[in-house]
Amino acid sequence: MTRTAPATTPAPAPAANPDAAATDPAADPLTIAGVRFSSRLIMGTGGASSLEAMERALLASGTELTTVAMRRIDPGVHGSVLDVLHRHGIRVLPNTAGCYTAGEAVLTARLAREALGTDWVKLEVIADERTLLPDPVELLAAAETLVDDGFTVLPYTNDDPVLARKLQDAGCAAVMPLGSPIGSGLGIRNPHNFALITEAAGVPVILDAGAGTASDAAQAMELGCDAVMLASAVTRAQEPVLMAAAMRHAITAGRLAARAGRIPRRHFARASSPSAGVADLGRAPDPERPAFS
C-alpha cells in the first residue's frame, strides 16, 4: 500500500492593508530648515558607557540627527563619535553645551562650523550649573547673532511660550523647550505650556531634556511636538538598546495619536456596545439602581 501526501492548497495571501503607507513614519517626515527626516527622534551621545554602546543605541533608535559637544582635543583618545555618525549616515548636530554667555556660545558654534562643516547648531546657553536651565537673556542674544551669521539655530530653551515666540521671531529654525532639567528624567512638568508653545509655533517644536521613559516621549508628541531630543534616558538606561527602540516606537505612536485626534475626556462612561437589543435574562428592574447622566 502506498500513500501519497494529501494535496495542500496554498494559504491565500492576506489582503493588503490600504492604509499601510499612510501610517508609515516615512510618509510623514519632519522638516527642519528645508531638510527632511523620516525619524522624529534626535539623539544625544552623552552618557554612553563606550562608543560601541553608543553606536548600538543610535542604530536601535533609528535617529537621523545626533548631537555632539565641542571640547579640547585629547591626543590620547582613539576612535571618534564622528566616525560612528559618518559610518551610518547620521547628520551631526553640534551643541554649545557648557557655555554660560552668548559670546562663548557664538565662538563655540563658529568653531563647530569650522570643524564639522555644518552651519546647524543646537544652541545651549546655561545659567546655572545645578539646574542647567537656560539663561534666556544670553540665549536670545546668541540666537540673534548666529542667525545673522547664517547659522541654522535650534535653541534649547525654557518651556516659556513667550521666549519660544521671541526665538522664532529671531529666525531660529526650531525651538527646543525643556520638559524638565537635563538628565533629571522628570518628564514634562508643564504640559499646558507645551501645548501653548506647539499651538502657536510656526517652526518645529522639539522636546529637549527631561524625558525619562517612553511615555514621556509619546506625551510630547501628543502635545503637538514635532520631534523629541534625548540622551540620558537611553544612554543611562539599564539596557540602552531596548530603551532606544522603545523611544522610537513611542515617538511614532505619539505622533500618530496626535494626528488621529484623541477623544474628548468625559466624566462618565459612554458604552461602546449597543444598548438596544439586550436580551431579557430574567433580571428584575431595580428602582434603587442609581442613574447618572
Binding site: T45, M70, A115
Partner: protein
C-alpha cells in the same frame, strides 16, 4: 597673532612635547603660548598648522581659535604664533 605680547616669558623649562616643536632651538627666539589651557614653549613664528600637527593628525573634525578668534583651516599654514597667544584646539566628542 602677535599683537598680544604683554605676557612675559616664563622660566619653566620646556617639556618634552614642547621640545619636539622646537627642533632648532639655537636659531629661533622662543615664545610661550597657551595650548588648550597649558603653557607651551615654541619657536616664535611657529605656524598654527605645525602646532596642531603636534596634537592631532586628524584630517577633519578639528577647529582652532587663537585669542578667541576662529582661524579657518585653510589659514593655519600662514598663521604664525607669538608670545602670549592663547590657542584652543577643539574636536567633537560625545555629548548632548
Amino acid at each position: 597673532m602677535t599683537e598680544d605680547a604683554t605676557q612675559t616669558r616664563t622660566t619653566t623649562p620646556p617639556t618634552a612635547t614642547a621640545a619636539a616643536t622646537r627642533p632648532d632651538t639655537d636659531t629661533a627666539p622662543a615664545a610661550t603660548v597657551t595650548v588648550n589651557g597649558a603653557p607651551r614653549r615654541i619657536d616664535a613664528g611657529l605656524t598654527l598648522d605645525a602646532l596642531v600637527a603636534t596634537v592631532t593628525a586628524a584630517p577633519r573634525g578639528v577647529a582652532a581659535a587663537v585669542n578667541e578668534d576662529v582661524v579657518p583651516r585653510g589659514s593655519w599654514p600662514t598663521t604664525t604664533l607669538g608670545d602670549g597667544d592663547r590657542v584652543e584646539i577643539l574636536t567633537a566628542v560625545q555629548g548632548g
